[in-house]
Amino acid sequence: MRTKPGSGRFGQHAKGHPVSRPLCARRTCAAVLLACLFLVGGVGSAALASADEGNSSSEAYLLVQQALGHLVHDAADVGPALEKIDAALAAPDQEGVSVAELQQAKAALEAGNSVRGRALLQESISAALSTLKPATGDETGTTTVLDPLPPRGGLTGAGWGFLTVSMLAILTGLALAYVFRPHMNVRELRLLLAWKHRRQNLPSKHERSRRKER
């Protein structure tokens, strides 16, 4: 008698040679281990393959943006920004970058005028930015490097309104949580269940009276 491909083996496996649970568990563990090793090996080799990929940019306008990024995050430390400006001045692709303004920006930063330095840096790449296409892939799409949004000011009327509603929600929630609280905590439940258990094991009233009669 012919069997369907695959189903015969599976049927035989299940009927003829029942696999014991520990053996089955060991096989599962082995399969999981193999899968992990495969994943780890694959990932590891991929990591090694990508380890020597650099991050340096040859486009001057990108390097200027990086200088701006450093200044936005730490205006007091102009060192990293100056490094990026030097790299931009030495970059092979300076299309759309005003080298004169870049040099002025460098001078301003070296003189400690980071506000003017930032403005000049932004100005120096305006030509390059005007030719940018809409961002695709993992491009930033950034044209102007903006400062982080300043933290909130004082409370407005709406802020007070939200606060009041929030406080009311907390108070109502707490009151409802109290009203709907469980009738018994775990300790009380433990005592109740122990009492029920004891009562269940006690002989019935009829049996007790019979014992007394004896």
């Binding site: 809409p134 695709t136 929030s166 929600a169 907390i170 929630g173 609280r181 439940l189 258990h197």
Partner: protein, 369 residues
């Protein structure tokens, strides 16, 4: 002519018990929608806060969905405008700052309550037979919550979000073919931000919703697990029949009360501690730290390089998924499971230590290193 009086449930209208209009309305709805199925019995011990954390997580998810629906009305998911649109939400939309704050803090609350729920289930042994499948769904949900948190970080499209994305792209490259979706090259004609946005507003919440529904249905099917310090039934898999019960609707009522407290706390946090919006992103620099939820990975990355993020995440979720298969004893009480509790404690302490170590580790460039 039929002169017998009409009866309701074998009683004449005069004999029928007086029922309020609201009750009658509920009965009408129940008859058509079957909401009465929610009234299944839940053991009394499940009404405590610790055993309601899953429900509180669901409430946080609900707040996230509602606030997220409102936020997408004002958010623009293109790289050129994303950061500006977030600033617009904060500065120009009435209540926008609070709305964004509630969304941000609800995501943090969801992460924390889901983690606490996971820990509670582990400590009380609630993952044991026959609830192993539901534990795996819970672990998958935690992974999805982490991903949702990550994608949300990217959407504000500031330096922090862009650097987080950079890590994600490089991890996608490390995975080779398996990481194709995370690679910018997968669909190079659109910005990866648009795809991350799609994942954040559709794929992830949709999958979370499906899994949460399955999670809830399995809780109903397997019933709430017995409390480890209370006697269970003969099988050891269910609470004792002698334990008092309450309808699940009462459990929901209590979760609703906790949810109201949570919503209030989120509102206060949103007003006093609004989430920041960083500088517009610049490629090729690394000057920020990730959100606190990923600090432990940042420390590992600092020591062992970027692949450590991937290895650590994969290892964590393999360990979590292996829990019900490694701890197979019938004991639920933590004192009788010293090995698994010790392993869990070591894992938790390791993550906490790595998280705190970020304060002594300087910001360093990892991308493309």
């Amino acid at each position: 002519m039929n002169d017998e009086p009409a009866t309701i449930g074998g009683e004449t209208p005069a004999q029928a018990p007086h029922r309020s209009r609201a009750r009658r309305l509920l009965d009408v709805i129940d008859e058509r929608l079957g909401i009465g199925a929610l009234g299944y019995a839940v053991p009394e011990h499940a009404n405590s806060l610790a055993w309601s954390l899953g429900g509180v997580t669901a409430v946080a998810f609900g707040i996230l969905v509602v606030s997220g629906i409102l936020l997408v009305q004002f958010y623009s998911p293109t790289p050129e405008t994303a950061n500006q649109s977030v600033r617009g939400i904060v500065l120009d939309v009435w209540g926008g700052s609070v709305l964004r704050g509630v969304h941000f803090w609800a995501s943090q609350a969801m992460y924390v309550t889901a983690a606490l729920h996971l820990i509670r289930v582990f400590v009380t042994g609630s993952f044991k037979r026959p609830r192993e499948g539901n534990w795996l769904i819970g672990v998958a949900l935690f992974a999805l919550i982490t991903l949702a948190l990550f994608t949300g970080t990217v959407l504000k499209w500031d330096q922090e979000g862009f650097e987080a994305l950079g890590h994600n792209v490089e991890i996608g490259d490390l995975l080779g073919g398996a990481g194709f979706w995370f690679s910018a090259a997968f669909a190079n004609q659109v910005s990866i931000l648009v795809r991350i946005y799609g994942a954040h507003v559709v794929i992830l919440p949709g999958t979370i919703l499906v899994l949460v529904t399955l999670h809830g249905l399995l809780v109903k099917r397997h019933k709430i697990s017995p409390h480890p310090s209370l006697p269970a039934d003969i099988s050891g898999e269910q609470a004792s029949a002698a334990e008092p019960t309450e309808p699940f609707t009462h459990h929901l009522r209590r979760i609703g009360a906790f949810g109201l407290v949570l919503a209030g706390v989120l509102g206060i946090l949103a007003v006093f501690l609004p989430p920041p919006v960083g500088a517009t992103p610049v490629a090729g620099i690394e000057v920020t730290r990730p959100p606190w939820n990923f600090w432990w990975l940042y420390t590992l990355e600092d020591w062992f390089g970027l692949p450590a993020i991937l290895f650590a995440e994969v290892a964590l979720f393999i360990v979590l998924a292996a829990v019900p298969f490694a701890d197979r004893s019938r004991n639920r009480l933590w004192r009788r499971r010293p090995v698994s509790i010790a392993v869990g404690l070591v894992l938790l302490l390791s993550i906490l230590t790595l998280t705190l170590l970020i304060f002594v580790i300087p910001v360093k460039e990892h991308l493309g290193a």
